[in-house]
Structures are given as C-alpha cells and as structure tokens.
C-alpha cells in the first residue's frame, strides 16, 4: 500500500485550479499539516496546490504537533508547515532559532472560542473561582499559553493557587467523568464533549486575545525555501486565501473537506469554524497582523514562555520581525 | 489406600507402538503378564527390545496403544506414589541438594521434617552418599546420581518399585552392597519389585522370577521362577553362584536373550 493517496473515492467537482495554473513552478515542496479545521486542510483535500502548480511536486506530511513540525524543519524534512503560535515563538527564539530557520508567512486562524476554559461546577463563573481546583490542559499548546496567561491576569499562580495538570484532550472526558478535574482549557471535539456533559465555558482564547495575548495557528516556511521559491509561495498563499474565502462564503463545502480530512461529521466541522477567525490575505498583510503587530505578539509570547521554560532568552522585537514574512500574503493581497 | 497385598500387576493384551515420522514403530508386541504382590521380577532382554517401554507403561507415563495395564484391579491412569520409579537416565532435581532430592517424596506426603530427615539419612547412608548430602546432583558422578535416585525412591516407600537398570553404572563392590540391601528391604517389606538389568547373573541372583524379552517388538519369551534370592536360602553369594541350578538358569536365560528366533 503506497502512502499519499487522496482521500476521495470520486474526485470532488471543483478540484480544478480556481485561477490560471502556474505551470512554471517545478519545485518540490514538503508540507507538514495538522488535523485542525482551517484552510490548510481544505487546500489539501481539494488538491488546489496540485492543480494550480501541475509541474510541482507536493508532499503532504501529517504531523502530530507543532513541536514536531519545528523538529522537521531542524532536520530539513519539510519546507512549509502549520503550527501554533507557541511553537512558532520557540522556533524564533534561542536556542532553537539556531537550528530551524523559519518565518511565519500566513495566519491560518486566530483562535477564538475554539479553545476555551470549561468548568464542571456551574457555580464557578469566572477564573478566580478556580482557586484550589484542578485544571487540565495539554502542556506546550496554545491552550496552555492562554490558560497561564489568564491565570496570571487574574492574579493566580499556577501550581500554587490552581493545580494545572498536563492531559491530552482525548483523555479529558475520562478525567472529567471521574471528577478528577474541575476544569479544562481545550479545543474541539473535546470542548463540545465537555460542554455537552454539563460544562460551562467561562473564558476562551477570544478573551485572552482581547487582553492582548492572542493565539494563532500559523503557516510557516523555511526562509531558504521562501527565497528560492517566491512563485510557489505566491500560489500557495493564493490557495490559502481562496480557502479562507471558501470558509467564509460557502462554509458547507469547506466543512465537507475538513470533515473528510479529519474524519469527522461535516456538521461538526462547520460548527468548529465558528470558534476560529479566518483572515483573508489583505487582512493578514495589514499592520494588525503580519504587517506589524504579529512580531510583537511573538515577542510577548516569548517573554511569557521564558518563565515557563522552553526558551533560553527573549530576543528583541526586531529579531522576531525577521521571522515574520508578510511577502506572500502581500503578493496575493495586491491582486 | 488399597492394602499392599492387593497390588497385583496385570498386563492384558498390551501392545505398544511409537509414531516416528508418521510411521508406527512397534515396541511391545503382546504382553500378558501378571505380577503377584511381593514378587521380585527381574527383566532382561536385548538393547531396544522394549523393557523400558513396559516399565513406563506400568509407571503410568504413557498409555498402551492396545490392551490394559492394571494395578490392584484398577487401570493405570497415570503415575502414583504407590509405584516408585528409578529411571534409566538419572532424573534428579538440580535445584535441590542431594538430601532434599531424597526427602522430596516424604515431604510431598506431608511427613514431618524430623521424620523425613531421618528417613533420608538412612537411605543416603545405605547408598553411600551421606558425605554428599549437600551437593547438587550435577556435582555427583554418574554412579552417584544413580544411587541418589535409588535412595529417593526407596525413601518414599512405594509398594511397587520399578527399577530400570539401577545398578548399571556401579562398580562391582558397590553393586553387590546395594544388591544385598535391596534384597534385605524386599524380604523385610514384601514389596513388589520390577527390576530391569542387562546382567544375567544379577537377574538370576536377585529375582524371585526371571523374565526375558525378545528383540523388538518385545514379547516375553522366558518366564521362570527363581529361588536364589529367597530369604530361606541364606547361603553366601559365592556358594549360590556355584549351585548347578543357578548355573543352569543363567544358561537358560542367556540362551533366551540370544535366541535369534525370538524376532517375531
């Protein structure tokens, strides 16, 4: 059995390139993807890249986490990859920055209600009520970052006032059912599961974003690859932009693709769109995001991560700006 | 437990074959044999004729392909403590010392530590291994292993003693000592003994009944009573061996073993 077969038994109707294909791109691109409901998996499912760059070779590599994607960069196994903003920050900071030379070229989504703090006891209505309780979160994830941020903002110290334990999302319902945990900061499908079994959402990443600590799922690329393959990245960004618009304009169709890749129900997939904010190329290129603010977000995240371990030192804001490249987004936004 | 004097051994129409590579290899042809309680049966026959097979059937290690083996009227369904077995190849437990090997049977039967130590000492003394009681079996010579095995079986005081060439690896002196010890025990306790040997002299000297088997597939071709081991005839061994009846029986046995006609 060969790997790399497309998911479809019958090809979906619109697997043609939505615009004029660029036959001049002949590069080989290895793309790390993750099972997250955003434009990336829509592009993958519909074969946009393959259709729009018929002479390029696209290899999709499924990765279990952003940390893994960073490692793949370190050993030159991939050229592009999706990761959360935390791993992206780690990858842009000492010491990892010496080994993985990447830039953020795309924001697949801004995490909103997709990751949220669910509490079991309905009488707890805000985060300060968690004092003395146990909260589960997958460590090193964007959710972990958001939780710690929210706790800090509420004047609570993890480990002292609140017991924060590492738990993978798929284990959470079990611990929840057994009353082993009082709350969890987690994403779908576990989030919905906990909500269904009587949990209440008291905070979400949307709130932390408002408080100035946004979390993202970002598209990254090796800087060497960016330099050598500008056309590829243009086509790639075009595809991502197209997918973002598809999610916005025709969520049902996009949800179908997400459902196929994630192996879930399209209705669930469509529901999950609501918790994430998708940005078009022009929005991304603006000063609010890749055009300026995003480097600051990385810098802020780094300052926070330093306390948590994982990085050795926080670079300057300019250092982080080097690892943000709005070029591909701009090239599409300019169209 | 059945009384000792009911322990009659009966082979009824016993045949046995082994299966080797799909083919049946006959080992015992047709054995009909009754051993009365208290008999000292010696069994001789050419190498590979089926002596061990017969003994193992009676021990309950295998089931005959045909016919029945019964002890005290009950078909043999497996090994039992009333039938002690001295194996042709010493079968001792390397994880136990010589003494503990000998004590094993009484211990399994729940005999008190003191009593079984006494029993073991007696039999270890008898077979000349008192000095070696702390050794492990693999630290004994071949003949010593055989003696240890004999002590182990006798210490368990089985009604029927099955011995497969027990004295085969012993020098003449040790052998003679053990022969007379065995006779002593037999006379004193009236146990049934089935004793396989290659020595015609031993067979005639010890047995109250001498059997000879034909070459494979084994049948019993000679079955003679013998009286030389009988307690009544308390004569020195040398003199017994010089008796004309003794020499005659030896010759008869030797002739039966060598008879080429015996091949069925």
């Amino acid at each position: 059995v060969e790997s790399g077969r497309s998911s479809t038994a019958s090809a979906p109707a619109d697997s043609d390139c939505p615009w004029e294909p660029d036959e001049s791109v002949t590069t080989t691109a290895r793309i790390a993807w993750q099972a997250i409901p955003n434009g990336d998996v829509v592009v993958k499912d519909l074969g946009i890249l393959e259709a729009c760059m018929p002479n390029a070779t696209i290899k999709w590599v499924q990765a279990p986490s952003g940390g893994e994607v960073v490692k793949y960069y370190g050993t030159d196994e991939v050229d592009l990859g999706l990761m959360g903003s935390s791993p992206a920050t780690i990858a842009s900071s000492k010491p990892i920055v010496d080994d993985a030379d990447i830039a953020v070229v795309w924001i697949h989504d801004v995490i909103g209600d997709a990751e949220s703090l669910i509490v079991k006891d309905p009488s707890i209505t805000d985060i300060s009520g968690l004092k003395g309780k146990t909260v589960a979160v997958p460590f090193s994830s964007t959710a972990h970052y958001s939780l710690l941020q929210a706790l800090t903002d509420a004047g609570l110290e993890a480990g002292k006032d609140v017991e924060v334990i590492n738990l993978d999302p798929d284990k959470m319902p079990a611990a929840w059912q057994g009353a082993q945990i009082d709350a969890a900061w987690v994403w779908d499908p576990t989030q919905s599961q906990l909500l269904e079994t009587g949990g209440e959402r008291i905070l979400s990443s949307a709130d932390t974003a408002e408080a100035g600590r946004p979390t993202f799922d970002v598209g990254t690329a090796s800087r060497a690859f960016i330099t050598e393959n500008p056309e590829f990245l243009t086509q790639w960004a075009k595809a991502q932009d197209w997918a973002v618009k598809l999610i916005q304009d025709d969520p049902a169709t996009a949800a179908e693709s997400v459902a196929v890749v994630l192996g879930i129900d399209p209705a669930d997939a469509e529901k999950q769109f609501a918790g994430l904010t998708y940005l078009t190329a022009s929005e991304q290129a603006s000063a609010d995001y890749l055009g300026g603010q995003f480097a600051k977000d990385l810098f802020n995240t780094a300052g926070f991560l330093l306390e948590q371990g994982g990085i050795e030192a926080v670079g300057t804001e300019a250092d982080y700006a080097e690892h943000v490249d709005a070029g591909p987004a701009e090239s599409v936004a300019g169209d | 437990m059945t009384d000792r004097h009911d322990r009659r051994v009966e082979f009824r129409g016993v045949r046995h074959h082994f299966t080797v590579g799909g083919a049946a290899v006959p080992a015992l042809d047709r054995i009909d044999l009754t051993i009365e309680p208290g008999e000292f049966v010696t069994l001789a026959g050419p190498s590979g004729c089926g002596k061990t097979t017969l003994l193992r059937l009676l021990a309950g290690f295998m089931t005959a392909s045909e016919g029945t083996v019964a002890v005290g009227g009950d078909a043999v369904r497996g090994p039992g403590e009333e039938r002690g077995v001295v194996f042709q190849q010493p079968t001792l437990y390397p994880w136990l010392s010589v003494r503990r090997n000998v004590e094993l049977g009484p211990k399994l039967r729940g005999v008190s530590a003191h009593d079984r130590a006494e029993t073991a000492s007696r039999y270890l003394e008898m077979v000349g291994l008192a000095d070696f009681e702390k050794h492990r079996p693999y630290e004994l010579s071949g003949g010593m292993q055989q003696r240890c095995q004999i002590a182990r079986v006798l210490a368990n005081e089985p009604d029927i003693v099955l011995m497969d060439e027990p004295f085969g690896a012993l020098d003449a002196l040790t052998r003679e000592r053990l022969q007379s010890e065995l006779l002593e025990i037999w006379r004193a306790t009236g146990r049934t003994i089935l004793f396989i040997t290659h020595s015609v002299d031993e067979a005639v000297f010890l047995g109250s009944r001498v059997l000879v088997m034909s070459p494979r597939p084994g049948r019993i071709v000679l079955d003679r009573p013998a009286v030389f081991s009988d307690g009544g005839v308390r004569v020195p061994a040398d003199e017994i061996r010089a008796l004309p009846e003794y020499v005659a029986l030896c010759d008869e046995v030797r002739g039966a073993i060598h008879a080429p006609t015996a091949v069925a």
Binding site: V1, S3, R5, S10, E68, P189, A267 | T63, E66
Partner: protein
C-alpha cells in the same frame, strides 16, 4: 484458532484412560470440536458482556461504544461511503484508505522491522552470549531496551526522514532487544556438555555456534521472536503518530484525537486479531522446529 489444540503441555494431570488407535483419532476430533465450542462460547460470552455493559450504560460510549457501533465503524472503514448522510462526496474508507489497507501498511512495516530484528538479534545474541563482547555490549543493550520510543523517534527522523524508513527503524529497535536477550538467555542455558561434545568432534568456534548453540537455543529464540512481535504491535501506534497514514496505528491515533472511539476500537480489534493470527503462526513454527521440547 483450532491450531492451539495441539499445544504441548506437560501432563501434570492424570492422563486419559487407555484407548486404541482408532479411538484415539476419534477422541482427538472430539477434543478439537470441544475446544472450538469452548472458544466460541468464551468469545460469545465476552461479546454479550460487552453488549450488556454498554446497553446498561455503565460505561460512557465515549470509552466503550456498543459492539454495533464498532461494527458500523469497521464496515464504514472498509467501504466507499458518503462523507455524511446525504452528502454526495464519496470517500474511500478512512483517511483515503480502506481499513485493510491501513492494516497491510502496518503489517509491512512490522514484517520488515521484526525481520531485520531477527536477522540482527539472533547473531548478536549468539555472539554476546558466547564472547567477551557480551560483557561490553550488555549495558548498551539494556540501555537501548529501556528507552521509550518517544525518546529516540526524533533522532530516527533526523537520520531516516519521516517516511517509512524511520518507522521501520523504530519497530526494529523495539523488536530486536527482546530477541537478542532471549538468544543470550538461550545460549546460557545450553548444556555445557553439548558444546563439549561438538568441540571434541572438531568444530570451530563458528561451527559450535551454528551446529549446537543456535539449535539448542531455538526454543528461547522463538519465544523471543513472539515477544518481540507483540511488542512491535504495541509500538506501531508510536511509530505511526507522525505521518503514519496509511497505517492502522496512525489511524487509531487520529481517530482517538477526534474522540471517534468506535473507530479506535475497531482498529484495536483488528490489530489484536492480526496479532493473534501472527502469533499462532509463530507457535506452529515452534512445533515444527523444536519437536524435542520437554523430551531431551
């Protein structure tokens, strides 16, 4: 499963009464039928217990879905089906492959990994069991066999990429220490006089290994291979977490992340059954290769 019938077992219990040869064959057939019935009824019992537990809702279907759901997931994973009821987007199995294709992919990896482990582990075990190299290498072998796969999969990816090669290496590294250890243990159990005998026949060092030590250790080696194969199965998920599609472990991992418990359990059952069948094969190999066990 009827193969297990002939399993050699020391007759600790009294044997059955005497019986003629024809009786014997009939007896055996009856025995085999009885065992089949036993297996079937055990299985049925388990299945109904499962069904009962879920029907009574003692366990949330999130952890243990009813047998019916698992069956549905199994069927779905082996057919072309619409992505959702009513949708006209037809997908093939799960993640683009039928379940049996996922299984074959994993089986291939296991076959190569365990195959290499056998090829490397047995000679290594023989050498380590008989020479000073064993003393030098043993700590490293122990080190290796204590390492969590998670610990070194990163290094494997560096060296062998994220394709099949690194997965096969992981399975190899999981499978070969038990084989090497079993071989060493087998070697240490070889009767010294069997070695002496062949040396007196003029065997060279190499010949001692091939003519005596290897065959005498075969029972232990086979047990080692069985343990190693089992271990490879448990490692297949770890190996396939990264880029493991097609692969039944990778599928189980992805499905688990999506809380699709029925599919996870379908995968597990398939893995388990495949493992049982493989092990039966290895066991009958044992019967062919080591007929003398317990006799000499």
């Amino acid at each position: 499963m009827t193969q297990t019938v002939a399993a050699p077992a020391p007759e600790v219990a009294p044997s059955t009464p005497a019986a003629g040869p024809q009786d014997h064959r009939r007896e055996r057939r009856r025995h085999r039928l009885k065992l089949l019935a036993l297996h079937a009824s055990t299985l049925l019992l388990l299945l109904s217990a499962w069904w009962f537990v879920t029907a009574m809702e003692w366990v949330s279907p999130l952890y243990l879905p009813p047998p019916g759901d698992v069956w549905d997931a199994f069927v779905r994973a082996n057919t072309d089906h619409p992505v959702a009821a009513g949708s006209d987007r037809i997908v093939r199995g799960e993640q683009g492959y039928y379940l049996w294709e996922h299984l074959i992919a994993s089986l291939q990896r296991i076959a190569i990994g365990v195959g290499a482990a056998i090829v490397v582990g047995i000679p290594l075990g023989l050498v380590m069991g008989t020479t000073w190299l064993g003393v030098v290498l043993e700590p490293y072998l122990n080190f290796l066999r204590s390492l969590p796969p998670l610990a070194y999969i990163g290094l494997l990816i560096v060296w062998f990429g994220i394709g099949d090669t690194s997965k096969v290496w992981l399975l190899f590294l999981a499978a070969f220490p038990p084989i090497a250890m079993a071989t060493i243990s087998g070697v240490h159990g070889v009767r010294q006089d069997q070695v002496n005998a062949v040396r007196s026949l003029g065997a060279s060092r190499r010949q001692v290994l091939t003519a005596v030590v290897l065959p005498a250790s075969t029972p232990d080696i086979l047990t080692g291979i069985r343990v190693a194969t089992g271990f490879a199965w448990t490692t297949v998920v770890a190996a396939e977490i990264a880029n493991g599609i097609p692969g039944i472990g990778g599928l189980a991992y992805l499905a688990g992340n999506q809380l699709q418990t029925a599919l996870v359990i379908a995968c597990i059952v398939v893995i388990g059954i495949a493992a049982i069948l493989l092990d039966l094969g290895l066991k009958s190999l044992e019967k062919v290769l080591v007929p003398w066990r317990g006799k000499a």
